[in-house]
Amino acid sequence: MPEATEKERSGKVVVRCTVNGRDAELSGFPMARLLDVLREELKLTGTKEGCGEGECGACSVFINGKIVNSCLVPLMQVEGARVVTIEGIASDEQLNAIQEAFIETGGAQCGICTPGMVMAAVNLLDRNSEPTESDIRAGLAGNLCRCTGYMKIFEAVVRACQHSGVKR
């Protein structure tokens, strides 16, 4: 395959994985950040870059079911992995309950942190359907909001799990 030869010559690699349930072949330099590959190769621009150093959580994705900062994952390390981005959280036209709750409470201002906040909330509620207030704060601790609209975000998570009642 001439294309592969050219990639080899340029030092690029092709990595096979699934992204949001679909098989994907991602090409890039082995040390390319998953964040950039998702945004530039697959045009999945819901995943945002905030700090680029693992402090802000804006680039959060799931790899094999675990939430990670995609700015800290080199492309080479997603070989064979299941990657889920914010685009994989809603099903068809139906938003996830957490996304609905963010809309209802106004949990988004400029929007840059929102995908990461939603991912962190999904991660929290997947593991703990009845989080306490402190569980929610801990679950969102890796995500920074530059608009500092933290209370609305916090309320969105509370609302998303309201059917089971958040323990006070």
Partner: protein, 289 residues
């Protein structure tokens, strides 16, 4: 400035054996790359000087937590998340679990590994003081074989380690006898804020009491010297003493000689010294609580 990506290599050896052969092929030329939580930050900042890496993240030989009567043994790739969710670790080695829970946030804890934290050799790392107090040992493997060494003394100077260029940290072993019920354990990290902060000071202490006297104590601190410090003199003068004002004063006097905190972007030497002495006092008072 961001790094120039084509200049970097990241191999993916199929097995641990293959990784060790790569390491042995040109000692010093290839370096292991685990969860990437430190190296990728350097890469993005254009400060990752080394260029040739091989990923070990996918090597199952370096994962898993094993328990025997004498030891609990952690694969070098044990993540902070895995470490804290292990029940034996939580029951017997709470300081290491707290250290893990206070290193970054969840997304970092899902990728950051204990072996990586040791090999990154930051004097501000959160797990080393706990590892020293627990008397941890490291298994180093190479194409030549494997050997166990004490973790204490492993870091010899800033970012310098007692290992050969063809060696890889494969496992970390904690003796269980040192974590019996009669040991009181105390761990405190002092950072700028609760989540995501790098330590200004990190303190780990454990003591065994009998008849109201300290039979044995161990103390280790991070961020107060070029490497993690084992405060052996401070710990040894505690032996046979009761916790009172004199004991606290004597221990603080020793600690002043054992640590050499500096001014840097996170804190000042004066603040670090004062907080270290306060934590020592708090640790000793906690033995009576």
């Amino acid at each position: 400035m961001r790094a120039y990506l084509p200049a970097y290599e990241l191999q993916r050896p199929a097995s641990l054996d293959e990784a060790l052969r790569l390491l042995a092929s040109a000692p010093g030329e290839w370096r292991p790359f685990a969860g990437g939580t430190d190296l990728m930050v350097l890469l993005e900042a254009g400060k990752l000087e080394h260029r040739k890496f091989f990923s070990i993240w996918h090597l199952d030989e370096l994962r898993g937590i094993e328990e025997t009567i004498e030891h609990i043994t952690l694969g070098a790739l044990t993540t902070y998340t895995e470490l804290q969710s292990n029940e034996t670790m939580r029951r017997e080695f709470p300081m290491l679990c707290v250290a893990a829970s206070e290193t970054g946030a969840i997304a970092i804890q899902n990728r950051g590994t204990l072996g990586g934290n040791i090999a990154n050799a930051s004097p501000a790392a959160d797990s080393p003081p706990a590892l020293i107090v627990y008397g941890a040992e490291l298994e180093l493997v190479s194409a030549r074989g494997a050997r166990w060494i004490a973790y204490e003394g492993f870091h010899t100077a800033y970012k310098q380690m007692r290992m050969e260029p063809d060696e890889l940290i494969s496992r970390i072993r904690l003796p269980r006898a040192s974590a019996g019920d009669n040991w009181k354990q105390y761990y405190r990290k002092v950072g700028t804020r609760k989540a995501q902060a790098i330590s200004k000071i990190c303190f780990a202490g454990a003591a065994r009491l009998g008849d109201g006297q300290i039979e044995e104590a161990r103390i280790s601190m991070g961020s107060v010297a070029p490497t993690v410090v084992s405060c052996t003199k401070t710990a040894s003068i505690l032996r046979g003493r009761r916790v009172n004002k004199e004991t606290i004063g004597a221990a603080q006097g020793e600690m002043k000689k054992e640590i050499v905190p500096i001014d840097d972007l996170r804190s000042t030497a004066d603040y670090r010294l004062q907080v270290s002495l306060n934590l020592l006092e708090d640790f000793l008072l906690s033995l009576e609580r």
